[in-house]
Subunit: 254 residues, 2 copies
């Protein structure tokens, strides 16, 4: 590597989905940081899923549990909130004060919990089973999700924005853009894909989240990324999946 050339970050994540890896891609893209999305390279260039499996199975010492994994020099990080809490400050996408950092991490962890719940709507019984094998349970869970969990989490994030007087409600933490805002953009984009009808009923109560998502999407580097082939389209293999039968805002849980 040439002296003076910044060493690229190496992201290892499933090459066919946005998934949790997208939260890291968005930070790297917004910062204009050099990075390699390793598993999207051809296998002949050391990429593919094989590159992930080599790290998961080959390493001695503390091995990652699952992707996303970030490699940088001798450091090997995994778990999305752990990666983000390390990476975002280096790329000026995190608060600079201790209180702000801790709040950002708490919000990122809350969002990680929410993503797991969103995933489990289509997989309430087991990740080893297909959706079609747990569809009856998914239909029932989707009703609880639409009636209780979705409004609870989105209402919480909306209040986090409106209560953040440092940015007059524009950003989640502090006075400027942070990785939490990029995460909230991704959350709203994913929910729009997976649950458009249910989200439409909630949108009037979520003005700041809607504005934030539009503001992030319009940032030049993010807009260029979203229009590029580097942005993997939403599909039926990721966290956010669009099954119309699970997007029924009118139902009540029971």
């Amino acid at each position: 590597m040439n002296a003076g050339q910044p060493r690229p970050y190496e992201l290892l994540y499933w090459p066919s989905i946005q998934g949790r890896g997208e939260l890291i891609r968005l930070v790297l893209e917004e910062a204009g940081a050099p990075y390699v999305d390793v598993a999207r390279l051809p296998e002949s260039e050391g990429g593919g899923v094989a590159a992930i499996l080599r790290v998961l199975k080959g390493r001695t010492g503390a091995a990652p549990f699952a992707p996303p994994i970030l490699r940088h020099g001798d450091l090997l990080l995994w778990q999305t909130p752990n990666i983000l809490a390390w990476l975002a400050p280096r790329l000026s996408l995190a608060p600079t004060d201790e209180g702000g950092r801790l709040t950002a991490n708490a919000l990122a962890l809350t969002l990680a919990d929410f993503l797991s719940e969103i995933h489990d709507v289509h997989h309430p019984i087991g990740v080893g089973l297909y959706y079609e094998e747990q569809k009856a349970e998914a239909l029932r869970k989707a009703r609880c999700f639409a009636a209780e969990r979705l409004p609870k989490f989105l209402g919480y994030f909306e209040r986090s924005l409106s209560d953040n007087s440092a940015s007059n409600g524009k950003y989640a933490v502090g006075a400027s853009l942070s990785y939490v805002d990029l995460e909230l953009f991704q959350l709203m984009a994913g929910l729009e894909y997976a649950f458009p009808r249910t989200l439409a009923t909630l949108r009037p109560t979520l003005p700041r989240l809607g504005e934030l998502a539009a503001r992030v999407a319009a940032r030049p580097r993010i807009a260029a990324y979203l229009a590029s082939p580097r942005r993997i389209p939403f599909n039926q293999k990721g966290i956010f999946r669009h099954y119309p039968e699970l997007d029924q805002p009118g139902d009540r849980p029971g």
Copy 2:
């Protein structure tokens, strides 16, 4: 407060369960740190669940999503891995090097994910419903859990111990006890309560986890804590619940 007296940490957590708050109690107890378990005080002394609700609802600015919450001076932290990553280094229960800290946090986050899955075995459809209202789904999820998820997570933590050459397999990260080890003790104690039959079938494959749990339980401060009324017994309201019908090691998922 007298000068020279360390300011006590204030933990805010549901007073009737171990739950996620127990991971923080164990760190405070092992360190012999001064702390107040606020909600276990009488309401007349500012305690009870009312103390938690005051923090959840009363605060302006970034409000916690849910307990556990840790208060220390002006800092208000929430989300268990966030609290632990801040608290444990102050109490000499975390690695001192950056790589060790990041590995400890990744392991703590993996354990947090596992705890959520353990909870969801008895609540696969929704937290707003009673177990009895989702028992059929829980029975099915329990089979997948026993056959796939439990062996996967426990095998991973066993390997984390055996691969940690710095402690010859005695501790999860680095050469000495850290908060991750206290978490693994709590995990094994909870699984022993909730899934004794299933755990018994796995124990022969988990020698280091078994030894670690025994070693932690025998530490003087932890032993004194476990024997004290400060340790809330396991019960049917927390993460770990013992429903014999969900503890069926022989079943295969289907």
